[in-house]
Structure formats: C-alpha cells, structure tokens
Symmetry: C2
Amino acid sequence: MQNPYGPNPSDYLSNVSNFQLIESTLREGEQFANAFFSTEKKIEIAKALDDFGVDYIELTSPVASEQSRKDCEAICKLGLKAKILTHIRCHMDDARVAVETGVDGVDVVIGTSQFLRQFSHGKDMNYITNSAVEVIEFVKSKGIEIRFSSEDSFRSDLVDLLNIYRTVDKIGVNRVGIADTVGCANPRQVYELVRTLKSVVHCDIETHFHNDTGCAIANAYTALEAGARLIDVSVLGIGERNGITPLGGLMARMIAADRDYVLSKYKLHKLRDLENLVAEAVQVNIPFNNPITGFCAFTHKAGIHAKAILANPSTYEILKPSDFGLTRYIHFANRLTGWNAIKSRVDQLNLDLTDDQVKDVTSKIKKLGDVRPLNIDDVDSIIKDYHAVVSTPLVKPNNGEAIDEEMSLLNSVKRKRLE
Amino acid sequence: MQNPYGPNPSDYLSNVSNFQLIESTLREGEQFANAFFSTEKKIEIAKALDDFGVDYIELTSPVASEQSRKDCEAICKLGLKAKILTHIRCHMDDARVAVETGVDGVDVVIGTSQFLRQFSHGKDMNYITNSAVEVIEFVKSKGIEIRFSSEDSFRSDLVDLLNIYRTVDKIGVNRVGIADTVGCANPRQVYELVRTLKSVVHCDIETHFHNDTGCAIANAYTALEAGARLIDVSVLGIGERNGITPLGGLMARMIAADRDYVLSKYKLHKLRDLENLVAEAVQVNIPFNNPITGFCAFTHKAGIHAKAILANPSTYEILKPSDFGLTRYIHFANRLTGWNAIKSRVDQLNLDLTDDQVKDVTSKIKKLGDVRPLNIDDVDSIIKDYHAVVSTPLVKPNNGEAIDEEMSLLNSVKRKRLE
C-alpha cells in the first residue's frame, strides 16, 4: 500500500525527500529567554548536534559579544562533519569579523517589511540591495558560503522581495532565505511564496518559521513541498518568544513522509538525549505533549485504541517508537480500559483466564476506575486476586493489602462462582 | 494595510471567519494518560469552558463506565449555554443509552480505514453504512443533533468515504466529521479532502486532528480555509498519545486571521486560568513553549528585536498580549542585549544618560553577560553605579554589593571620565 503521508507526486519541485537541516540552537536558541550557554556547553551541544547528523550548525553573530566571537572560533576548530555558519546583520562591519572566525558560511539577514524598514533599521530597498550586494561579494571573495535572507518576509512587498532575491541570486549566493519572523504565516501562504520564489531564483531556498501560532512544523513541511530545500530548526524549538520549528517535531513530520531518507541521515535514537541536554542547559522541562519524546507520545488509553494497537500497532501509530529508541505503552489501568487491554495484561502476568472471565474482571476494574485513579499495581492485584478465586476456590485469596472496594469486588466474584 | 494573515480571498468556501469549537477536554482529554476527572472536576471544567465561550462541549460515552453516564447526565442538567454532546461508537446499544442522558447531540464515530476495518471492528463498508443509517435515524427520531464521523479518514479509501458521507448527508445528519486519528495528515492533504467533501455534502463539516507530527493547529486552520466549519479542540490539546489541536494554540492562529470574530465570541483573558485548571487536574506543567501562555511567549531578547519592539510592538508581535490579559517583556539582562533596550531600562529607572553613555554602559553589561547569566538586579546595579559615577564624579559610587567585575567596569568608567 502506498504511504498516504508520503510526498505528493504532483509536487514535482518537492524536497520532502531531499531536505537539509540548519540547526540553530546555538543562534536562535541563544535568543530564548532562559538561554545562557557557557563555552563548554556550546561545544557539548555542537558535538551532539553533529553526531545526530544535522547538515549545518548556526552560531550567534561574532559581533554580539567578545565571548560570542571566541566561541564561534572554538567551534569552527572542532573539525565537525556539519558545516558551521554564523548569522549576521547585513553590514560590512559584521561581515569583516564573521569571515575571520573560520566559519564555512555566513547567513546574512535584513528586514524588508514596512515594519522593520520603519522601526528597525530605517533603510529603503535601494539601500538594502546595495548593502546586500557589497556584503555578498565580500563574503564570496573569501571562498565561503553565503545566504541572504529577508526578515519578516510574509509582511514584505512581494515585488520588493522578488527583486532583491533575483539580484542576489544573480551574483551567486548559495541560498536565499524566507523568514516568518513574527510566526504567523499559514501553510498555503508558505506554499505560494516558496513556489513563486522558486520560479525566480536558481539557488537553494532556506526557510525559518516562528511558532507563535503553532504552525512552524506544518509551514516547514509545506515549504519543502513547494521546493524549499533547507529548514531552520532548534532543539525543542527554543528561540525568541516561544521559538521556531523544533528539531524533534520536524523529525516526526518527516519520518512519516519519508522514513528511509530520515533514517539514512539522522540518528533518531539520540533525539531524546539531545533534547534532555538542551532542556537541562536552559532549565526547562520537556513539554508533556512534545512530539516523540513527550512522556505519553506512545501511550494508548481508550479501550478501542488499545484493542487495535494490540492487533496491529500501525492502526493507531504513524510513528514507530523503536525508531527513536522508545517503547509503546498500553495504558490499561483506567475506567476507559477495555477487555482486550486487560487480556493482554493477563497474558503478560502469565495467568490463564477465559475471555468471559477477562470481561468479568474488566468490568470490576472499570468500576474501581470510576471511584479513583488506578495504578498498575491496583489492576494487577485485582487480576491476581480474581485469578486466585476462580482457579483455586478452596484457598482464600490474599487480601492483606486489598482495599475495601477490591474486597467487595472479590466477594462478588466468589458469590458469582458459588451461584 | 490589509492583514496579510487574514482569510484568503480566493477561498470562497472559507469558514476562517465563521468557525465553531467542539471542546473535547472531557472526552478526548479523558483519554490522556494522566486524566482522571472526578464529577466535581468535570463540572468545574465544563462551567469554565462554557464561560470561555466554546460552542459545544463533548463528553465521554455514557457506556464507558457507570460514572461516565452519571457525569454526562449531571453536566446536561447544568443549563450551560454551550450545547452538550456525547461521543459514541456506531452501535444501537450505545445510541440507546446516549439519547437518554439529556445531551443536545450525539457524535457517532466508526473506523473506515483498512487498518481499523481489519484490526478493530472487523466490519465491511456495507455493514458500516447500514449501522450508520440505523443509528442516525434513531438519534434523529429523538429530536437531537447527530454527527457522523469516519475514523482514520486520511487512510480510508476516498470513494468509500464519499459514498458513506453522501448517504448520511441525505438522511439528514447535522455534521459529518473527518478525523486524522493517527496525527499525520499534512495541511495540503487536509485542504484537498475537505474541499472534495464540501462538494459532496450539504451539512457542516467537522474536523479532528491529532498532533503526533505537530501539525494539528495548521491542519485545523487549513480545514477551515477549505470550508470545514467546526474544529475539535481540548485544553492544552490533551488526548490520546500527545493529543489533538489545543484550544489556546488555535486561538492564537485564529486571532491572527480574524481578531474581531475571535474577540466577539471567546473570552481570551480567561484562557490562562482555563489552562491552569486543566493542567492542575491532569498534573502537567504548561509547556514552556505553549502558544500565548508559555512563560516566554511575549518575551523579546535579541538587541535588534528589542529595539524595534520598543518603537512599535507590531514589528515582532502578531499577537497582542493584552488581548489575553498578559504583558510583554523586554529581556535586557543578557549578552545579546542592545543599547535601545538598555536605554528603555534607563528611562524606566528615571535616570538621565546621553545616548553615548547608554552605549557605553551597554557594552559593559554585555561584557559581564559574557561571563555569567545576568539578572535584572545585576543590570540595574551596573546602570545605577554608572549613572552615579558620570553624574556626581566627586561622590564615590556605592560599591557595597558590587562584584569584582562590576568594580573593574566602574573603575574603567571613572578612568575614562578622567582621561
């Protein structure tokens, strides 16, 4: 059966099966409220990202502070497989410092929206174009990669954007970038803009999506469908405000679309450690609902879900937990449980009950689940006591630790057997 | 200026400005691993949802357990403005119980994908259609609303789906539902399926998106663009595995598209309390990166961001924090800070420094920010001491609490003034 979540065959420019990651935990992520990375921590994170398999690692501008420059130089000297980038304003002052750090490439950005032109740098499009050309030619002359990105691209004038992108493409940038700086583009807008841009430039297209309105992963995916090649991500999405496209969430999205490609490039079983490393460094908890590594991402609870999952995990799982070094969990200790889930637990406990007996004990478990939250021990104890009663009627069940409700449940079992 | 994030004028079937919410914290949310809601907690949550302004409140099936049925009846008696729904399997046994609870409507669901037909209920499409017709006609005969939804719609055969939807539409369901049960549809797939379905049925279309690959908000938005009218949400997105479209995240998305509509219907300033209520009930933390209510959703850090935000918040904010009863925060105590952010702090402290002096003290703050994480007191102390030195050179600054680095910074200020 064809994967219904695979690349859309009508997207002939799609890079869903040919994307690259620009990992920006050490740049965008440093703009996260809680982030303060020591040199040692930056190096530890850079090595972990490299080991995971990201294509590029983006670092804070060397002109942000003296230590930022030194850290950039130190990371360039590590000899990582990933290419090292730094991210600067579109100024010759910044570019001169950046090219001396040893980076493989420079990411240049300038605001092109009315908002940014008026309230940030105050320059017009002519000035922006001239600065861009000067900086790009300078960086190229040093033999390193150069990306030119607009900022707040989705609130910029389309003609302004296409003009400047065509200009920089002609002078030979490696990539042009589209940035949803305020985090509010929606997927079909993204598709339109990327497709249009793709018809104007020959170089690769990189995209950067903030997550203020919760669309950063979907926008990244849709950008790839339209022909973008590179996605900016950070671990757990950390960045300005509530951040950008998260590495883990994008991996979930991409593995559903092209498992072979993702598994061939990225060490997914290291994702959890990578997220824990960064979460600890910036003192946050992994969100309970995080894709893949959230504590319940592979937990199935409702009776009808559990039944089908036990028969075939693909019924309710598009992701395989084992791809990430994780395991599935059938949550059977609750009032929504069903007899298939309890039967599976009975089998795990190596007990022998008929289907009718399992249904009977399930109804008792659900009854107790109506009274209070259950844990696994509660359920196991009910099952074991039930099993003891039905299999050895002459021996009294061990009720030493049984609570009142369980006692009465067990008594009803006994009565039933005697009827 | 036209809102670039508003409804797309070419989507003539769009319900972006005319959507409704089916709030499922008390149904889908009860399938969340940690959820155990007492009767009192369910009533508290139902009242809070009603006060927030949701259109429908969906409850767990009354056949899930005895207490589930009683709770459903109790909530129906509260006399809320929101319509009360319960969610059942496509069985007459379930339907007979559901219609007696006092609900305003019944949501019926059945698996239509190969996976579910094979591994869950084991029925063919004829059987499904016949059951659906029987249940729908029965519920309609009781004079209450009825929705028919397929489950795992995106892995179901398109012709099967359209056939059954057309059949149930003809016999007069109020809504048909599309469900991305495994959480892996992508926005353009959603658009295509909803648009196609919209051309086949006359009733409203409801959509339900799981978030396994992080697209639940974007998929919901795109479904509205294509002509769906109702979106299933839960508070914080709680549900099976890592959950569904979150209420708060969808509000962020929708207010960016049509602020007037959203403000006219929903009490957004109650969102934080509502999320805290549910988070406490299921014992989770609000994710650090939650849209709107994440602790840093309105925190701006990098120097160039802070500068522009101070000049005009719309530069880097698509959402207004005051719409949600929240406030903006400029994070100036870090090495990425810029002189505009520090100048704003100097003004807040009611001190008088020239721009050159602010730039000078900013570079000292950045230097200390390279050495260790800063807090506001650190920065305020540097600014105040600097101000003391430059404004009253004959009075020794109060260095009682100053650390070594600050001392040497201050001495350098003094030396500079004496040069």
